[in-house]
Symmetry: C2
Subunit: 220 residues, 2 copies
DNA sequence: ACGCCTTCAGTGACATTGTCACCCAACATG
DNA sequence: CATGTTGGGTGACAATGTCACTGAAGGCGT
């Protein structure tokens, strides 16, 4: 189905051919449909995940019914939070959701351990992945604790739009991105609309004035 | 000065004698006075730190003049954020402050790498440390994004008090623990005082009714 | 003891954000 | 066209953050 996936990852592409062949043997390739929970408090995987194709959204759920997106795992990255899940006894309530249909490589813990022990390149890859996520979380804490909502929303709209000039998302979705309430998003979007920075229709938002939005987002 | 520090850490106590002797040779022992910045954006160490004695407070500083405590590193733990700092190119603004006089073991990166590669026990220790911090940060995000201030403050007072019934901290200190403003802390403490849960004097807070505070803190 | 200075805490007005209880509009479906 | 579901708008209020002050408490030098 897919060929030599070890090409795809920084941590594996540099490994000797023999090691990579071994990996191709022991790893299982799994597919999951969009919307599937990849991992969560009640769904702790026993393997390390490498995301071959697709995107995973890692979300923190609150018990008051609000969510916040912690970060996204893109194709070519590994999902280290799963390893943290494996080791953690403490309670937490983050979960990973397949944001698209995904193809992932599940590497059994034993093989993972061995690889980390034996291969410098792989070890560096894993530590870099951990570090990246730590830094991502620092950023989230900073945003949530000190950032203003309009700034955060402008930034998120731009990020979600990418090169396009429209975002397909309900106010509720955006609220769940930022860990706030729908009403708050509605209010701010109304304001943006009045200032002609965006145009709204049901479930979609057109970014009319990206430079201005960038200005707002930069006030961070 | 200090004897065999390898006794002190989960990750090192289980290592073979020979390895530990090697460690004792390559590691540098450093002392720092209370208040010293152990690491920070402009002060990136090139070694991994093991905290032998004392406590480090890891703080996120905002550019609007507020702070928030991310977690504390206690004696016997390692400070993995420093390794993240080493690897990170991205900007961040967390820093570690010696909360007491500290004694730390600085293990050069090369020795660290070798140890991770060769010793299962040590590797497990390091990964556990990373996971712990990730989980800690999840908790912080949850608190900041979804927690109510009175709940968080009650919890923090109890945590800072430990077994004692008094906390030595100004309102400003408490605000910096929680990432809020002094006025907010003052307001909530006033309320607690009116309800006779605490008594205040300049720079100190007596916890009069810990059970009630625990009730408030549990509403999380 | 006395005044002086610095730090800490209290206060009211206001802005921002979160919560609640609604309403109405847009779309899908039979 | 009738109806149900989902997305979005609104006003009132609560909680939190900001600002510009005030005064109180304690340290210190004389």
């Amino acid at each position: 189905m897919i060929g030599d996936w070890t090409e795809r990852f920084q941590g594996t592409a540099q490994l000797p051919r023999a090691v990579r062949d071994r990996l191709l043997k022991v790893a299982r390739i799994t597919h999951m449909a969009e919307g599937t929970q990849v991992f969560g408090p009640l769904n702790v995987p026993d393997s390390l995940f490498f995301l071959y194709e697709g995107r995973i959204r890692v979300v923190q759920r609150s018990d008051v019914g609000r969510d916040i997106v912690l970060y996204r795992v893109d194709a070519g990255e590994s999902c280290v939070l799963t390893t943290a899940c494996m080791l953690a006894e403490e309670a937490y309530n983050a979960e990973g959701i397949a944001e698209t249909d995904i193809t992932a490589i599940a590497l059994p813990k034993a093989a993972f351990d061995r690889l980390v022990a034996e291969e410098d390149a792989f070890r560096a890859f894993v530590f870099a992945a951990y570090s990246r996520r730590l830094i991502d979380l620092l950023r989230v804490v900073d945003d949530v604790a000190f950032g203003q909502m309009d700034v955060r929303l402008a930034a998120r709209l731009l990020a979600l739009a990418g090169d396009f000039k429209e975002v397909s998302a309900t106010h509720q979705h955006l609220a769940s991105e930022l860990g706030t309430a729908r009403e708050v998003v509605s209010r701010i979007l109304q304001d943006f609309q009045k200032r002609e920075l965006i145009a709204q229709s049901r479930g979609r938002i057109a970014l009319l004035d990206k430079p201005a939005l960038r200005d707002i987002a930069a006030a961070d």
